[in-house]
Amino acid sequence: MEILVCARRVPDTSENEIELNAAGNDIERDDLVYSINEPDNYAVEEALQIVERAGGNVTVATVGGEDDEEILRREMAMGAKNGVLISDDAFSGSDGKGIATILKAFVEKNHFDLILTGVQAEDAGAQVGGMLAAMLDYPFASLVNAIEVLDGGKLKISREIEGGNKEMNEIDLPCVLSIQTGINEPRYVGMRGIRQVASVPIPTLGAADLGVEGAVGGAAAKVKRVDYFAPPLGKGAEMLGGSREEIIDKLIEMLKAKGGLK
């Protein structure tokens, strides 16, 4: 099975506290640690496990800039055969539909049986997978937390729905699935693995290669982020100050009063 995983490099929220910049119009991007979007990493692991069972190859593609090549190498070190960087100044300002348009053009120049995305990026809207599927006229399922390959060009999949319940579906290939975190245990990637793929060429494709000039980028976007701002504080917690010992004494009194401690 030929599998494409669409991945992104994003600020890593387990490594960074995301704050506003001094001008208040963007997040503070200096010194941010970036990594592959977490659900995308689960998607790559899932693709690798499917290929281990059913044969085939995994290609990881990202729409982004030069720096984003680092996540492609990381995922190639995990076992993806190909990495493709889709990059062009003309892509800047694209909304979700713009990104899906770019990926559609890439998919149509290749042959994939299955396309995986992460369910969501923390700075985006859980949208590109479903849009890409609709543009290609492929079936789609979101929040997928188990995949079984069936005979006859079909998959049996489980979707995560409310209350920890699972919605089981059968879906025809080719299809697009958005992968939920926790579906598997992504394998570890060491520096050595990354060095081993350091010299593997990664092709870069631009707007002209894909024939999407004019259809993407800021001018074509119907949805645009205008600014960032500090979220409203809400009622806000009463913050306990003092030494840890003092805080613990206060907390114990509160827990007694609220029935958390006899």
Binding site: T13, E17, I18, E19, L20, I27, G96, K97, A100, V119, E122, D123, G125, Q127, V128, G130, M131, A134, M135, P139, F140, A141, S142, L143, E160, I161, G163, G164, N165, K166, E167, M168, N169, E170, I171, T181, G182, K222, V223, K224, R225, V226, D227, Y228, F229, P231, G234, G236, A237, M239, R244, E245, I248, L251, I252, M254, K258, G259, G260, L261
Partner: protein, 322 residues
């Protein structure tokens, strides 16, 4: 201004809470119109849901089809594309069904799409100004959305307070024939209920809930010791389950358990809305987090900025001394 529709999620004949919230969102797009409910399904459940909705919507569009007895997003999409007028604005709740349906629907309607909207700051001509959050609620953003060819907007559950108002006495309009024949390449098989765990966290009055801040499975006993001292149980947020440090049955949130404790201690938990959606009954909430800007401090009653791995053992031993 385009006509506004609210897609109603319902189960067992009962509309979801979002059915009361979407009209409030619609009002912020266009105060002059009241939205039309659009409901898909089959049989008595669909009829019951429509009957309930007539009390709060001026017009209810019903799409009955046996294939829609279970809301398969691909079938629902095909029905909506046929039934909704071109250029409509459709509102849905941002939950698992909306995530499944809306992005693809927006493409087929040639409409704009925005997910997980918390507020609507009005319209200038055909441009809406919307509020979203990014990075797990650490920052908010304004988003401009051009609705001149329609829009699909997923609204965060709970973000809009239901409107107060007199019963609407809505008109029921049957649109079933317009939806026509429906077939899908994704077929619903069954729903598998969540597995019960060894500990039922919904039964406890005190929960010590841990998030990514617990750092590794080997640290979970620190939380268990504290829970034991308090006579409570340990629950957790999603990243802890994803990392396989605790069982899924311990997870609090929209994709996990819904709990109603008296005291909820959110420890090393940032406080995503999906997590908070699983906490009901307005418990006394204590948040402990290393990050003083963690979103959890906006909703907790009491906040403590500290490392839970150091804080837990000291709190536990002090409680035991008492």
């Amino acid at each position: 201004m385009p006509r506004i529709f609210a897609y109603i999620v319902h189960k067992g004949g009962v509309p979801d809470d979002s059915a009361a919230e979407l009209p409030a969102a619609a009002k912020k797009i266009d105060a002059a119109q009241s939205p039309t409910a659009v409901v898909t399904g089959w049989g008595a459940d669909l009829d019951a849901a429509c009957e309930t909705l007539r009390a709060s919507y001026g017009e209810v569009w019903k799409i009955a089809n046996e294939g829609l007895a279970y809301p398969n997003a691909e079938l629902v999409r095909k029905a909506l594309v046929k039934v909704l007028p071109q250029g409509s604005v459709l509102l849905l709740p941002h939950a698992h069904f909306g995530v499944d349906l809306s992005p693809g629907l927006s493409i087929k309607m040639n409409a704009a799409f925005v997910s997980d909207v918390l507020d609507i700051e009005g319209a200038e001509g055909m441009s809406l100004k919307l509020v979203r959050q990014e990075f797990g609620g650490q920052v908010s953003t304004h988003v401009r959305c051009d609705i001149s060819s329609g829009a699909v907007i997923n609204i965060r559950p709970g973000a809009f307070k239901p409107l107060e108002g007199a019963p609407a006495g809505g008109v029921l309009v049957d649109k079933s024939s317009a939806a026509g024949e429906l077939t899908a390449r994704r077929r619903y098989l069954e729903t598998v209920a969540a597995e019960a765990g060894a500990v039922d966290i919904t039964k406890y009055k005190v929960l010590v809930s841990v998030g990514r801040g617990i750092e590794e499975a080997d640290n979970v006993p620190l939380a268990q010791d504290l829970a034991d001292a308090l006579g409570g149980a340990v629950s957790c947020s999603r990243p802890v389950v994803d990392a396989k440090w605790m069982e899924k049955s311990r997870q609090v949130g929209s994709s996990g358990q819904t709990v109603k404790p008296k005291v909820y201690m959110a420890c090393g938990i940032s406080g995503s809305f999906q997590h908070l959606a699983g906490i009901k009954g307005n418990p006394f909430m204590v948040a402990i987090n290393k990050n003083p800007k963690a979103p959890i401090f906006r909703v907790a009653d009491v906040g403590i900025v500290d490392d839970i791995l150091e804080f837990f053992p000291e709190l536990t031993s002090k409680i035991r001394e008492n």
